[in-house]
């Protein structure tokens, strides 16, 4: 049961993609969820409006970390213009499981960090 429901999450939690630190990123942003202590930092290398490379680092629960890993896979190689219309519902869909409302915060941390990094502070709390 658990292994089926969490299949994608567990895969990314145990083998995170694009994990680590980047030297000389073009943009970076770090965010956290003070209530549960989850932290995510995202770094980007951009070229001609395209995300050439992206890395994340941080700590926290499986949902928050796997969610970041899944997001980086999606972002790599995408045009920033394209990402602008990428909705949080679509990101949640990529996680491959239904989340209870209390876990939503964990799942959306990386998405919010990405929005603020790429589109500015006005994204905070959106």
């Amino acid at each position: 049961m658990i292994e089926e429901i969490y299949e994608i999450i567990l895969d990314h939690y145990k083998n995170p993609r694009n994990y680590g630190k980047m030297e000389n990123p073009d943009i970076e942003y770090e965010g956290g969820n003070p209530y549960c202590g989850d932290e995510i930092k995202m770094q980007f290398k951009l070229k001609n409006g395209v995300i050439e490379d992206v890395k994340f680092s941080g700590r926290g629960c499986a949902i928050s970390q796997a969610s970041a890993s899944i997001l980086t896979e999606y972002l790599k190689g995408k045009k920033i213009e394209e990402i602008k219309n990428f909705k949080k519902e679509e990101h949640l869909k990529n996680l491959g499981m239904e989340l209870s409302p209390v876990r939503m915060k964990c799942a959306l941390l990386a998405y919010e960090v990405m929005r603020i990094a790429l589109f500015g502070e006005e994204e905070i709390g959106k």
């Binding site: 049961m1 658990i2 567990l10 549960c36 202590g37 629960c61 499986a62 949902i63 209390v102 964990c106």
Partner: protein, 414 residues
């Protein structure tokens, strides 16, 4: 011994709790978050309903029948609480919203009015934030010194350290009767003897975790104040109380000012009502108090000794089964007196994932810092999961819990 076992029938008890029949995602609810708040039996829910349906009125005001009936029941609730903890009478029991408010009452009424710069307060590293932050407020406002008694590796208070901290300038010592993170039951009688030997400090006990689970008698332990939460002992949310020795309450300034707490008001000033009403300004939580009274009836009916034994059995069983799981870390000593609660982590698994998966399986446990950040920092932990038991929990529920933990360990640990 045999008779007691006959009286305590956990399956019969479970029938009294409507919420325990809840299904979570199709699974039976297993409620292991009792240290946060308990469920309420139908007797408590009925008592509140009866008040609202039959004699709903304000207390201590009208001459009419409903007001009289409500006043009698509300006062009776104070009396019942007094008997439950061995106080002299209802004049020593002040109803509050929770234990936090009870501790704030002491901090404000005594702290603000009676402390002077250079005075000292001692609390401990084992405390819930509610028994730390009000004293920090006094440190800021009154420029007093605040000391913390150390916690030893085995999860007990360092009483030698306490002895060293005590002196004639110590005005208040505040400590918990039981830890909400470690489960440790502190040796209150012994601690209070040490304090009285070396100072004239006022002694404040946090009974939020202990009073619902073990017999606490204020005369026996000889504390000056005791703060308790009603909602952690089957009572309604928004209920709690402060016990205080009568002679101390009499000379204390009020905490909140307004209606019902006065004897007479002129444009020049006011005189205070008699105890305990001097400390209960405004229309109180009447329904809550009546509900708490029903909760105490319920606990008395079962017997605190039976409750203690039942929880001890659950604790021993849960510990034995949890230790079957590799890489599980359990916090606090469990060899000495302890409550039926277990804080733990599974290596490589975040406690939020433990609680999240448990929830998928219908099991309610807590995860986080448990409002004891200084204690957790002392043990170098950021957060943990916690399962806490009460009268209606069973070994079968623990079995289900253990199976889920084993699955979590299998699939989640890196």
């Amino acid at each position: 011994m045999e008779i007691k076992e006959k009286i305590f029938d956990v399956y019969k008890i479970r029938n009294d709790f409507p919420c325990l029949k809840r299904k979570i995602r199709g699974k039976d609810l297993i409620y292991f978050d009792n240290a946060a708040t308990t469920q309420r039996p139908k007797q408590v829910i009925e008592a509140i309903k009866e008040f609202y349906e039959n004699y709903n009125a304000n207390v201590h005001r009208g001459v009419h029948t409903l007001s009289y009936e409500a006043s009698v029941k509300y006062e009776e609730a104070h009396q019942k609480v007094a008997e439950f903890i061995g106080a002299k009478g209802m004049e020593e029991i002040i109803f509050t919203r929770n234990a936090s408010e009870a501790l704030n009452l002491v901090a404000y009424s005594i702290g603000i009015h009676e402390l002077e710069e250079g005075d000292e307060i001692i609390t401990t590293l084992m405390e819930h934030h509610s028994n730390i932050v009000p004293w920090q407020m006094l440190r800021k406002v009154k420029k007093i010194k605040l000391h913390y008694v150390n916690v030893l590796k085995n999860g007990t208070l360092d009483l030698e350290h306490l002895e060293k901290l005590l002196n004639k300038k110590t005005k208040i010592v505040a400590f918990t009767l039981a830890s909400n993170f470690l489960g440790t039951i502190t040796p209150a009688k012994e601690i209070i003897k040490i304090i009285r030997n070396k100072s004239d400090a006022i002694i404040v006990c946090d009974g939020a975790q202990a009073v619902p689970h073990i017999k606490v008698n204020v005369k026996e332990i000889d504390c000056d104040f005791l703060a308790v939460s009603g909602h952690k002992m089957l009572g309604p949310t928004g209920t709690g109380f402060l016990y205080g020795k009568k002679h101390l309450l009499e000379k204390m300034e009020p905490f909140l000012y307004g209606g019902d707490m006065i004897f007479e008001v002129t444009t020049e000033g006011a005189t205070w009502n008699e105890l305990p009403w001097k400390f209960e300004a405004g229309t109180p939580n009447i329904a809550g108090g009546i509900g708490l009274s029903a909760a105490i009836d319920y606990l008395n009916e079962i017997g605190m000794e039976n409750i203690e034994n039942h929880e001890k059995e659950l604790l021993e069983y849960a510990l034995r089964r949890m230790r079957e799981i590799e890489d599980i870390e359990i916090y606090g000593h469990k060899e000495q007196d302890a409550l039926g609660l277990i804080s733990f982590n599974i290596k490589g698994v975040h406690p939020h994932d433990i609680a999240g998966i448990c929830d998928e399986e219908g099991i309610a446990i807590r995860s986080g810092h448990h409002c004891t950040q200084p204690l957790m920092r002392h043990f170098c932990i950021e957060n943990s999961a916690r399962a806490s038991f009460y009268i209606y929990n069973t070994k079968e529920e623990i079995d289900v819990f253990i199976e889920v933990l084993k699955k979590i360990k299998k699939y989640f640990s890196k």
